[in-house]
Symmetry: C2
Subunit: 380 residues, 2 copies
């Protein structure tokens, strides 16, 4: 391949230093209670310099990063990341799910914290290279995948508060099972209005490291009260923004029998989730076939906590995200009371439909074969 295909970040320049010994593969069942704790043999590193631009990507054995203690990523958190999954299709080919959306979102996230731009197609190519190299790590079976975490962070050394055009892009991969512990198929949320996850003009619409740690303490409070995650509220009307680290969906059964699959609009305070978008698009495109005998309608509008508590039309709730895919919400705590709903037919149908597309069990343009155009790469 001519390197001229790539403008700056250049997958054709990738070098590989293979690990001298490969790790034993974990058993798939051991992954179910250890989400995101086991990593593959290699990682990809690529540095950006404000003058020279992106350097040659290097695949090296998975191991620690060495960074100056005054690096921006430690001191001021200019860090964006993505989460996408590689699935093992029935034919044995790795597949990615709508990875172009992740690339576009990462570019937007990077711009929000003044990190350098990159060619999304080139990064996707690097991800494909990594997935291909580490394909032995993709666990077989529905519910299992190889989670891919591209991360970009500012590495400028200095305590002055300013943008970091010196940056490190890295890709790590971990085989994953179920996001929530094995014995639970639904999740519970405590509605939180003392801590606000995001606000207009803030960063909640971007996938940034900095959005997550402010949720740790509220998450502990929720856990102490018997809830797994927080339901984040915002504004005088106390409307829902997100559910833990997922987009929030409520399904309302209207008097005419239509099921309205409802979520917050992309107003800048919520993450534009790939799974969220997939739910809305599937409900629109398959409004009469997704649940035979029932008409579905996708609705984007704010949902207040008052409505969740009072509505007799509320039939189910679920969270949508890359890690959990579709997570039925059985319980929402608010003001000392619980809103309870069973796992519903909509979340079940959506989980089935999305995962069959992800796994390549059916043909769908969202499922992308993970073939690289860079020849000659292999871990010997």
């Amino acid at each position: 391949m001519a390197s001229s295909q790539w403008s700056d970040l250049d997958p054709s320049k990738v070098t590989i230093t293979p690990a001298t010994t490969l790790k034993p593969l974990p058993k798939p069942e051991d992954l179910d209670n250890a989400w995101g704790k086991v990593f593959t043999d290699h990682m990809l590193l690529c540095e950006h310099d404000p003058v020279a631009g992106w350097g040659a990507p290097r695949i090296v054995p998975y191991g620690p990063l060495s960074l100056d203690p005054a690096s921006a990523c430690f001191q001021y958190a200019p860090t964006a990341f993505e989460g996408t999954k590689a699935f093992l299709s029935p034919s044995g080919t790795p597949r990615l799910f709508r990875p172009d959306m992740n690339m576009a979102r990462l570019a937007r996230s990077c711009a929000r914290v003044a990190l350098p731009p990159f060619d999304g197609a080139a990064l996707l190519e690097l991800i494909k290279i990594m997935v291909s190299l580490e394909r032995r790590w993709i666990p077989a079976g529905k519910g299992y995948s190889l989670y891919v975490r591209p991360t970009m962070m500012g590495t400028r050394v200095g305590l002055g508060v300013a943008a970091s055009e010196t940056a490190l892009l890295y890709i790590i991969l971990c085989p994953t099972g179920k996001y929530f512990p094995k014995d639970r198929t639904t999740t519970s949320l405590l509605a939180s209005n003392d801590t606000i996850r995001s606000w207009p003009g803030g960063t909640g619409g971007h996938k940034l490291a900095l959005n997550y740690s402010p949720c740790f303490a509220p998450q502990r409070i929720a856990a102490s009260k018997g809830y797994e995650q927080n339901l984040w509220l915002l504004g005088d009307d106390q409307h829902v923004t997100e559910a833990g680290q997922m987009n929030f969906f409520a399904v309302f059964k209207k008097p005419d029998g239509v099921l309205e699959v409802t979520t917050n609009p992309l107003d800048g305070t919520i993450l534009p989730g790939v799974t969220r978008d997939s739910v809305l698009k599937l409900v629109e495109a398959e409004s009469k076939s997704l649940l035979p005998g029932t008409v579905l309608r996708a609705v984007e509008r704010t949902i207040t906590i008052k409505e969740l508590v009072e509505s007799s039309e509320l039939v189910e709730m679920f969270g949508a995200g890359t890690a959990a895919v579709i997570a039925p919400i059985s319980r929402v705590g608010y003001d000392g009371k619980d809103v309870l709903r069973e796992e519903g037919v909509v979340s079940r149908a959506l989980w089935k439909r999305i995962t069959e597309i992800q796994m390549g069990e059916v043909e769908h343009p969202w499922s992308v074969q993970c073939e690289t155009t860079v020849p000659g790469l292999s871990i010997s």
Copy 2:
């Protein structure tokens, strides 16, 4: 000293690995345009383990940190830090300025992102040890100091979103001159209402790494329009929260001649600055002596941008922070127009008073001699 003086984080357990060669000291004048870029010979590291608690603090040569790429500090930004300065008093003794306030604030910041607690007196002792060891690095002369940056960050390895009780505390030090470039004695601010720095229920009242990178892009916009920093606004009333990375002060001359030194109250959206508190306390305690012939009054209330634009009582504006101490604001851009004020008598008097206390030129309980109670420590 008996180690029982310390509950957990224990300065008496500190070990030292001295640098084999010491760096040449920079000339003080070279520091004026390179704020936060030169670091001393050593750094202090101390790890926290959720079971074993705080380990023995280690002083080692300044150098890179080695951390797993899936560490919480990279992925979810649970990082709190402090900034305090050591000054060289006329007698040659290093002095710190109200360091107990920094210790208390760091504890609050750590709790906000679920980092482990620590003994503030023990951390202050570790800072004193580091300042004492690195005292050759404290530049002499007013306007110069050794900036101390204690940082605590979560180092739990794993991609699951959860609190990190595994943590690294480190202290780095850098000799500093003027925060703003040498040829400017005042700063200029562009009022920003499309990007919101902080929000009720958010993290703006804590000193967290994650508060800073969202300001990088707006700062670039401000710079492109000829302003050095942003004036952060919030709410329907468009009131001022902070000025760049400083607390904002406006001085209003009332009809009775009293000068009201006014700043936003600590409502959770602004940093509880040590310099901010010092300004308010000095204005209260020395209301008639700080500016002979003039009565000053400290006022904590919100100030709207409309008031800054329209008020005929507005006589001066300044920012207050550890790095810049007192930075007169000569220009605020809003809605295509500029609010212009000269550097005023109040900011000049406050700068003089605070820096003479910091330098130990006058006796004041805020200035703390930097003597350690841990004997036998020296860099050979």
